[in-house]
């Protein structure tokens, strides 16, 4: 679409700068991660002398040995995994069942419920009434407090509802003629047809749970229940928690530099996201664009 033989000198110059600029943009995005990973394997001397580097010269595992020497980090990773798994399952059950019911145009009361959902996107009770509801339900200091208040994203609900509505109606009718009930149609026809969209939104919800910081900080007072994000802040930003246990090592063990320890903790928090990133990238653009369809 941009045929080059017509380009003037100025336009070619623009191209050169454009490639340079976008390369720089990509590097600025990626290099901080590379440096954090490299630094987590570095020794004190290397961090001080070389400052910025992308490959450590004498890679050392001591920062990782140190952060995994006590159960502080293990426990918070376990908490994050529990919250992510059960949170995502809750999200999917709540969102898919409600979306399917609302996708049926003949359902009485459908418009009323849809209006309730849409209004909740425009106006909310705010932080304090929300906190008080969770407190009154007795959910403080339980995983329920970080899972249930976000069980359905109204936005995701509407996107999935629209997707269900646009499934070919013939299959559903055929199933019904064969004696399928509503729940049978959902289970045997609609959900199998919706596997890609379920995977997409499941991943979105899961990433949200893994990354969730604020509600965990607000609702979980017991540090034994903290997920990784809350623990990460305590260790890296507030320097409040000694993540490792030096008494677990030989006297000869060289204590890893403080900076390397912090970088290693950041790597632990980032790697799971980077591992699912290829899947995210495959699906996310679809998710964003689905959302832009008005319905």
């Amino acid at each position: 679409m941009n045929s080059s033989k017509y380009d003037s000198f100025g336009e070619r110059l623009f191209d050169v700068f454009n490639y340079l600029f976008l390369t720089l943009f990509a590097l600025v995005t990626v290099l901080p991660f590379v440096y954090i990973i490299a630094g987590s394997f570095a020794t004190e001397i290397e961090l001080i002398q070389r400052k910025f580097f992308l490959f450590p010269r004498n890679p050392s595992l001591s920062a990782y040995q140190y952060i995994f020497s006590s159960d502080t980090l293990f426990r918070s990773i376990g908490n994050s995994v529990i919250i992510t798994v059960f949170g995502t399952l809750t999200n999917l059950v709540f969102t898919l069942s409600m979306a399917y019911a609302l996708s049926r145009r003949d359902l009485m009361g459908r418009n009323f419920v849809m209006n309730l959902v849409i209004f909740s996107m425009l106006f909310s009770g705010g932080m304090i009434p929300g906190y008080l509801v969770v407190k009154e339900l007795g959910l403080l200091n339980t995983y329920g407090a970080v899972i249930l208040p976000g069980a359905i994203s109204a936005f995701n609900l509407i996107v999935i509802k629209n997707f269900f509505q646009n499934l070919p109606p013939g299959l559903e009718e055929a199933a019904r003629i064969d004696g399928c009930s509503d729940i049978g149609v959902l289970w045997r026809i609609v959900l199998p047809l919706s596997k890609p969209i379920i995977a997409t939104f499941g991943l979105f919800y899961a990433v949200g749970h893994w990354n969730n910081f604020f509600s965990a900080m607000m609702f979980l007072n017991d540090s034994k229940m903290w997920p990784l994000q809350v623990m990460l802040r305590e260790i890296v930003m507030l320097s409040q928690v000694a993540v490792g246990d030096l008494s677990a090592f030989d006297p000869e063990f060289v204590e890893p530099p403080d900076q390397a320890v912090k970088m290693a903790v950041i790597v632990v928090g980032t790697v799971p996201i980077l591992l699912v990133y290829p899947f995210l990238q495959k699906h996310f653009a679809k998710g964003v664009l689905l959302g832009s369809i008005k319905g």
């Binding site: 679409m1 440096y35 400052k51 709540f94 019904r176 996201i273």
Partner: protein, 326 residues
């Protein structure tokens, strides 16, 4: 077998001739609800969720007009009218919060809002597919990284205690800059963080709009002798202008929604004077200090202004001939 036939009959009734087939309306309503009972069972958990976690808190807003005490509950607490609102507007904190919020919102609009548009336009000019895809793959990554990690990385990079940025600055100039505690650096840091995290992701929606532009338009423009910048101005930009307007409405509607988690994470005792915004104030005063009614009033003020902004910007967008969002 019996039910199957009934179902089929119901469906044809509903689809083609609802009123003729169902003479008694009242009876038919019950019949419909009975027929759809599985659907109502499926609807129930979600509906309960919205009522408990969305609408119950909205009802809870009444405590903004009370001296709410958790022991007495909402029904027995004393009503005090708009006392908390008056207190808030007379409090010097109000001006400080409003100022901080507006300045951050303004910076966000001026520096962050155009960034994805510019990046998408630049990406759109790239002709080498593999380069374009490689850049896209890299710049989308930070969107999925948590704010805690972004803030933690900022701390590790910028600390005066061996952070790489400060070490390099020290090497060059002989002194260190306390980015994390200096109030003058707070706003630039917030904007830079959000640009780093979300610019790439923000390009997706514009690139999709650009992909739908008919190639023939460009070809015709080339035949007519239009330069690349003329093509950009007359074809590419108009193609994304409605997307820009819609996102601008959304942004103006959320003008007061400064990234709460981000600001909370980057705030410390030294930069609090420029960092406090409505949300962090509500958290601090409400949850930390237990002033539930007062902080609910502050939150309500923010929500009401927010909804006015959404409807206001929507109204103006429609007035100027664009499609609105509501």
């Amino acid at each position: 077998m019996d039910t199957t036939i009934n179902h089929q009959a119901d469906m044809t009734d509903l689809d083609s001739r609802p009123s003729a087939a169902l003479p008694k309306r009242r009876k038919s309503k019950w019949a419909k609800i009975k027929k759809d009972y599985w659907l109502y069972i499926l609807l129930f958990p979600g509906l309960a969720y919205f009522i408990i976690f969305k609408y119950l808190p909205m009802w809870g807003i009444v405590i903004a007009f009370q001296d709410f005490s958790p022991f007495l509950g909402v029904l027995k607490s004393n009503w005090v009218g708009v006392k908390h609102f008056v207190n808030f507007f007379n409090n010097p904190d109000f001006v400080r919060l409003l100022r901080n919020t507006l300045i951050l919102g303004f910076y966000d609009l001026v520096f962050f809002f155009p960034a994805p548009i510019i990046a998408a336009l630049l990406l759109n000019e790239i002709r080498v597919g593999i380069f374009k895809r490689a850049v896209q793959t890299m710049i989308y990554v930070p969107h999925f990284i948590s704010m805690v990690i972004v803030a933690s990385m900022t701390y590790v990079f910028l600390t005066t205690n061996g952070g790489v940025v400060n070490e390099i600055i020290y090497e060059l100039s002989g002194q260190r800059i306390n980015f994390l505690a200096d109030p003058a650096w707070f706003r630039p840091l917030i904007i830079l963080q959000i640009m780093w995290k979300e610019t790439g992701w923000g390009t997706i929606i514009f690139l999709a709009a650009l992909a739908s532009v008919d190639v023939e338009q460009y070809e015709a423009a080339i035949v007519d002798g239009a330069s690349r910048f003329q093509r950009l101005w007359h074809i590419t930009l108009p193609a994304i202008s409605s997307t820009i307007v819609i996102l601008l409405i959304l942004r103006l509607g959320n003008f007061l929604d400064t990234g709460f988690e981000q600001i909370f994470l980057m705030t410390n005792s030294l930069n609090r004077s420029v960092a406090d915004v409505f949300d962090t104030y509500v958290y601090q005063v409400g949850i930390r200090q237990g002033a539930f009614s007062y902080s609910t009033a502050v939150g309500l003020f923010k929500s009401v202004v927010g909804i006015i902004l959404i409807y206001g910007s929507n109204y103006f967008a429609k007035k100027f001939g664009h499609e609105g969002i509501i």
